[in-house]
């Protein structure tokens, strides 16, 4: 009997121990994009702070859906694009304001930090700080399609069945700019905006014969370009840089009307439980050496000051080729999307998808 008692006591003790351990170890639940939190960085963060990072890979729409479903619970830190904070925050209230005093401002490139602050402010409160930035434009195999310089060139008859796009807002807005419109200036005027996106939607529908298949994840696109099935596509610059490392003929090409620039931010979900860990993570990954590790894995550029010195030379060369200073100056930065616009765009895109 004494043995049995001993065993029970031992079991109870071990159960209590195992139950106590996870409660003591802190975790940061991070909702982010693929490659934004490389394993090596997570390990360094754990070594430095003792905090475990649980990563959930997502994208802009999925982040909003996930946080909307729980009213902003389940994650401690999210990384939506700066233009996708204002609308969802007004509609669903899924974020909480940031305490900027907890962020080391000196680590950031001031222009990017200010731009993100301005674009994510509601009633004087800031909801996002800048992390990585990049653009959306064209990825072109310049040997097979040397003359593609604009969205309209994707629709040239000689590239029938040889191009791809992602049927989302960057394609629609890119087409609008290529047609000489300025959709960003019409964000405040719904009637005018509807006219512009209707026109761009019609152009996309007319271009449909040229599209081999619309891509949805960057892996789809990588496969189609690597195999040579697609020679030019509407895509993110990071996809172009990734392919450039494998085949120097392929690279990102900023469209003549200007590449569309986005900044991904750090934002605090409304019911996040570990804000301290979130601020620690932000300050940790914005250190130049760490930021460069993330840049190398994501292929997008960091708002961390001085990080470009530590980026791999191959990526830097691809970037410099695609983005000479005059192209950077021409980037059209996505302004915050007012609530309601995305529903209008959605309908136009549905029509393009369903039409023949």
């Amino acid at each position: 009997m004494r043995d049995v008692k001993g065993i029970i006591v031992g079991l109870l003790a071990s159960v209590m121990l195992t139950a106590a351990v996870p409660a003591r170890a802190e975790t940061l639940r991070l909702l982010t994009w693929g490659d934004y939190a490389p394993e090596a960085v997570i390990k360094k963060f754990k070594d430095a702070t003792g905090i475990d990072v649980e990563v959930t890979i997502s994208n802009n729409e999925d982040m909003i859906s996930k946080l909307r479903a729980t009213g902003g619970a389940g994650f401690d830190l999210a990384q939506p694009s700066q233009d996708r904070i204002l609308g969802p925050q007004t509609d669903f209230g899924i974020y909480k304001p940031m305490d900027l005093s907890k962020i080391t401002a000196g680590l950031f490139i001031p222009e990017l930090l200010d731009a993100a602050k301005k674009n994510t402010a509601i009633d004087g409160k800031v909801y996002g700080v800048a992390h990585l930035w990049g653009t959306s434009g064209l990825v072109v195999d310049r040997k097979k399609a040397p003359d593609i310089k604009s969205f309209l060139d994707l629709c040239k008859s000689e590239y029938k069945g040889r191009v791809s796009m992602r049927l989302k807002r960057p394609a629609l807005l890119g087409m609008a700019f290529a047609l000489g419109e300025d959709p960003f200036a019409a964000y405040g005027d719904k009637a005018k905006y509807q006219a512009i996106i209707d026109k761009a939607g019609a152009a996309l529908a007319a271009c449909k014969a040229n599209v081999k298949a619309y891509w949805s994840g960057s892996d789809d696109l990588l496969n189609m370009i690597r195999s040579g099935e697609v020679v030019a596509a509407e895509a993110w610059d990071s996809t172009g840089f990734k392919l450039n490392a494998e085949n120097p003929d392929i690279n990102f090409v900023a469209p003549a009307a200007g590449a569309l620039g986005w900044i991904d931010t750090f934002a605090l979900p409304a019911k996040g439980k570990n804000d301290d860990a979130a601020y620690k993570w932000i300050n940790f990954v914005m250190q130049p050496e760490i930021a460069a590790m993330i840049v190398d894995s994501a292929g997008s550029f960091s708002a961390s000051k001085g990080s470009d010195q530590f980026v791999s030379p191959k990526l830097r060369a691809a970037f410099q080729q695609a983005f000479p200073p005059e192209v950077i100056a021409q980037i059209k930065w996505f302004p915050a999307v007012p609530a309601g616009l995305e529903e209008m765009e959605g309908k136009v895109l549905d029509k393009v998808a369903a039409g023949n």
């Binding site: 729409e61 999925d62 509609d91 081999k212 549905d350 029509k351 998808a353 369903a354």
Partner: protein, 305 residues
């Protein structure tokens, strides 16, 4: 005062009541998981969905009750056409599955014997040991422009350049038939199995040829299996998301993809719920019509199958 007067009766009835109570308790215990399942996993979410679908958004975080989500769906020809297209293609795929599945089932049930029978049945089952995603990727590797079939055709000299066989409606059909074949074959085998061979022989003895025997004897007997298989396959096709999305081309919109995009990329849960409800009602209606037309009942087909 009454109780001691009739000790025998009270003594006899008490255990009987106890037995009934125990039976009732065991019934409740056995029934509870089922009832909980139906209520929590099916009824509550559906009701929630229905309620959501009747919410109209009038401003940020402000909603009123109303049918606008439905009127918008039916007012936009794009969505109605997608629904019709999805239904028609699902019906076609179901019919094709039946045409291909029937001979297979007949062979397994009536002609193959012993080990060959097990082997054939297993080969129908085997593809289902891997996930649907892997199976669909397999088809993508075969059908794509730089894929197996295109290379084979070029190697045989049948075509000059690479041919694209992926991203069209035929590829979607192939994928749907492949995905749902088993669900047609299993109910067919089980009904054909119960067909007495003597009836088929009698049919021939009475002067019927193969076609007449098939039409007059085999098919009427297999009808519950056919209807059961067709209903399952039709529902699977209609609700399939993966196959049409991956194999389908730029014009192959499937209704489930519309629901997904309403919920996930537009965060428009209200209209997504309306879409979901319309799909539910449409599929129920078609199944009901098919049962009426074939003179079967749901319990007589699915129950048997």
């Amino acid at each position: 005062m009454n109780a001691p007067l009739n000790p025998a009766a009270s003594g006899a009835s008490a255990p009987r009541e106890e037995g009934a109570a125990a039976r009732r308790l065991s019934f409740i215990l056995v029934f509870a998981p089922f009832a909980l399942w139906i209520a929590l996993v099916i009824l509550v979410p559906q009701l929630n969905l229905f309620f959501l679908s009747l919410r109209e958004k009038v401003g940020p975080q402000v909603y009123v009750l109303g049918p606008r989500n439905y009127t918008e769906l039916f007012g936009e020809s794009v969505y109605v056409l997608t629904l019709v297209r999805t239904v028609v293609m699902s019906l076609l795929a179901t019919f094709a599955t039946l045409i291909i599945g029937f001979p297979i089932a007949y062979y397994i049930a009536k002609i193959a014997r012993g080990r060959a029978r097990t082997l054939l049945f297993m080969s129908c089952l085997l593809p289902f040991w891997v996930s649907e995603l892997v199976r669909v990727f397999g088809w993508m590797l075969i059908l794509r422009e730089t894929g197996l079939l295109s290379r084979l055709l070029q190697g045989l000299g049948l075509v000059d350049g690479p041919v694209e066989l992926l991203y069209n409606d035929v590829a979607v059909m192939v994928g749907l038939i492949y995905t749902s074949m088993l669900f047609m074959v299993v109910p067919l085998v089980s009904t054909l199995d119960s067909l007495d061979d003597a009836l088929v022989e009698a049919g021939y003895d009475l002067g019927g040829n193969g076609l007449v025997v098939l039409w007059e004897i085999v098919i009427p007997h297999a009808k519950p299996g056919i209807v059961a298989g067709a209903i399952i396959v039709f529902m699977l096709n209609l609700g399939n998301y993966l196959t049409p999305t991956l194999l389908g081309g730029k014009n192959s919109q499937w209704f489930t993809a519309q629901i997904y995009s309403q919920f996930i990329t537009r965060f428009n849960w209200e209209s997504g719920s309306a879409f979901g409800f319309v799909l539910l009602v449409t599929s129920s209606l078609i199944v009901w019509l098919a049962l009426r037309a074939s003179g079967q009942t749901l319990s007589g087909t699915i129950g048997k199958g």
